[in-house]
Symmetry: C2
Subunit: 179 residues, 2 copies
C-alpha cells in the first residue's frame, strides 16, 4: 500500500462524523469536504464518486473489524465476554466507523451491506468456536447485534453504564455455562 495520504484519512473521518451526528442525508460531498477542510473538488480527487467514498469507508471498517476479531480470539477473558463488552457503543474508531457504515447499509448500498455481513460473520464464527452450541452462539451474537444496532439507530453517543454491562454479562455467562 502507498503511504495513504493524510487527506484521505481526514475525509473518511469527516464522513464518519457527519454520518454519526447528522445521518446519511446530511453526508453530502460538500459537507464532508468542508468538515475535512477541503473543497468539493479536493474530495473528488481522492474519491472520484460518492460510491468510491462509501467503498473507502467499507474497506476501512472491514480492516478494523478484522483486527478486532483477532483481538477477540486472543482475549484472555475469552471471545464471548470480549464480544459483549465491546458491543456497547464505546466511541472507538471501530464503533464509530461501524455505526456510520450501518447507517449507509440500508440506503441501497449493497457494498456496505456485504461488508457488514462479512464482519458479523467473523464475529459469529469466533463466538461459535468458543460456545460450541450453534443456537446459543446465535443468541449471544444477537444480543451483541441488538446492542450494536440500538446504538446505530438511536444516535446515542451515550455510553451504557458499566454495571448494566456487568449485569448483561452475568446473564450471558449463565447462558453459555450450561452447555
Amino acid at each position: 500500500m502507498p503511504p495513504a495520504p493524510a487527506a484521505r484519512a481526514k475525509l473518511l473521518d469527516a464522513f464518519v462524523t457527519i454520518l454519526l451526528e447528522q445521518g446519511e442525508r446530511a453526508a453530502t460531498l460538500e459537507a464532508v469536504a468542508a468538515a475535512a477542510g477541503v473543497s468539493k473538488g479536493g474530495l473528488l480527487y481522492h474519491f472520484p464518486t460518492k460510491d468510491a467514498l462509501v467503498e473507502g469507508l467499507a474497506e476501512h471498517v472491514e480492516k478494523l473489524a478484522a483486527e478486532d476479531v483477532d483481538l477477540m480470539r486472543a482475549a484472555p477473558e475469552g471471545p464471548v465476554e470480549y464480544y459483549i463488552r465491546t458491543s456497547v457503543f464505546a466511541d472507538t474508531p471501530l464503533d464509530r466507523a461501524g455505526v456510520a457504515l450501518t447507517r449507509l447499509s440500508q440506503t441501497a448500498n449493497p457494498r456496505a451491506r456485504e461488508a457488514l455481513q462479512r464482519i458479523h460473520q467473523g464475529w459469529f464464527d469466533a463466538l461459535a468456536e468458543e460456545i460450541g452450541d450453534h443456537a446459543t452462539a446465535r443468541a449471544v451474537a444477537l444480543i451483541g447485534d441488538g446492542l450494536y444496532y440500538r446504538a446505530a439507530m438511536s444516535g446515542e453517543t451515550s455510553t451504557t453504564p458499566p454495571e448494566d454491562v456487568d449485569d448483561l454479562l452475568a446473564v450471558v455467562r449463565r447462558l453459555t455455562r450450561t452447555d
Copy 2:
C-alpha cells in the same frame, strides 16, 4: 377519527414498500405517488410535506405496535415466546411498517426515532413484567432487537426457518427458566 380515505392508506403502503425494497433514498414523493397510482400533487393533498408523510407512517406504526403489545400480553404462550416468535421478520403489516420506519430513523428524523423508542419500550415493559429480573429481560429484548434490526438492515424478505426459531426459543427458555 374520520373515515380515513383509501388513498391515504395506499400512499402509506406504497411508502413502506419502497422503503423496504429500495431504501430511503429511493422513497421520493414522486416514486411514492407513482407506486400508489396517484400524481405528486395528489400525494401532496393528503400529506402536505414529506415530513407529514413520515409522521403519518410513524403514527401508523405506533398504532400497530400498541395492538401488538396487547396481543403479546394476552398471548397464551406468554409474552416472551410471543415476542421472540414475532421478532423474526414475517412480512406482517407491523413488520413491514416497522422496518420501514427503522430505515427512516437514522436519517435525521427525530420523530421516527421517538416513535421507535416508545414502541420498544412497550415491548420491553411486557417482557420485564413476565420475566421479573431486569437484566434477563434486557437480554431477551436485545435478542429480539437483534433479529429485528438484522431484518431491517439486510433487506432480507426471506423468513427465518421455523426450526431456527425453535432452537432460539429453547435457548431463551433456558435463560428465563432459571430465574
